[in-house]
């Protein structure tokens, strides 16, 4: 089973690196015009765009902090002009600032909530105006096992992602009648550059919690995202699809 997004416009937040980059490449390879939102790494964004266009796809990079309401409204102003529509929104942008609660400063709390939760409010709000007008849209929010089973050191991140899960379920009910689907994907421990920096011992300890005894691949996450962005999932909304090898 493969997917065809020809003629569709997709926005991927945090789309220049890691899982976001894999999602951007996968959507573009199947015909979507991909707007790659990123916060800071100009080189990574440029590389993702050139990798897509080099393979014959269409993409553009837009720098904007998802936590900045005015910047996101400005980005959507550009999207309204070109390409003039938005069919798919992937809310992938996220940051972590792991600390045990006793040592977590207000800045660590506020910034993680701002990017991971308020960022989703900002993009989904602007997108829903466009999508209601089109009477079509697919919104996929990237969440985390931390929000489902918890993780010591991630109270801020878990709270934000838990908020996104509740947001997903509520927004799905608001927008269902307009042919707008709102779902979430919860990737487990995925083999990205983030894992390169940790010791073998830590990797082993992570794997003890995963029934499949292996890490996921970015492709396995994009498969779930593409499914929820496609017509194959048209009777599914407000759901969380866990791609985590049985972790949760």
């Amino acid at each position: 089973m493969d997917f065809d997004f020809t003629g569709k416009a997709a926005l991927v937040t945090g789309g220049s690196r890691g899982i976001g980059r894999a999602i951007s490449l996968a959507l573009a390879a199947r015909g979507a015009y991909v707007i790659i939102n990123y916060a800071s790494d100009d080189d990574a964004a440029e590389k993702t765009v050139s990798d897509i266009t080099g393979a014959g796809g269409k993409a553009v990079a837009v720098k904007a902090d998802v936590a900045d309401t005015a910047a996101i409204e400005e980005m959507f102003g550009r999207i309204r002009k070109d390409p003039g529509r938005l069919d798919i929104l992937i809310n992938n942008a996220g940051i972590i600032r792991d600390k045990l609660l006793m040592f977590m400063g207000p800045d660590d709390w506020d910034r993680v909530i701002a990017v991971n939760l308020t960022g989703v409010y900002n993009t989904a709000k602007s997108a829903s105006r466009l999508m209601i007008g089109q009477k079509y849209g697919k919104i996929v929010n990237i969440v985390s096992p931390s929000a489902i089973v918890g993780r010591a050191g991630q109270t801020n991140y878990a709270a934000a992602k838990g908020g996104v899960i509740a947001f997903t379920k509520s927004l799905a009910r608001e927008l269902a009648r307009f042919s707008i689907w709102v779902n979430a994907v919860s990737p487990g421990i995925i083999q990205t550059e983030m894992l390169d920096g940790i010791t073998e011992q830590m990797k082993e300890s992570f794997l003890t919690a995963v029934p499949m005894k292996r890490f996921g691949t970015p492709d396995e996450v994009t498969g779930a995202v593409l499914f929820l962005a496609s017509e194959r999932s048209n009777y599914i909304t407000g759901q969380i699809l866990c791609v985590d090898g049985g972790l949760t």
Partner: protein, 88 residues
Amino acid sequence: MEDKKALAERLKKLIIESLQIEDIAPGDIKDDDPLFGNGLGLDSIDALELVVALEKEFGIVIADEEVGKKIFVSINTLTDFVAKERKM
């Protein structure tokens, strides 16, 4: 610019078309009928569609739910608001 009566007719058509209301013609909606609840039977989520339709048709951005509640009372209130605020 169209007069109030013509604008009211246009708004009735806009409501019927954007909300895909079946079995109702513009003439069936009285200018002072409540649009929500017992009147046309619209709910607050239907209003989202009207908010987007007003933006598209008249360039009016309604960002405040309280404003929406005041103007979506009836065709009369909606017509007065659009006549005053329209950008196109």
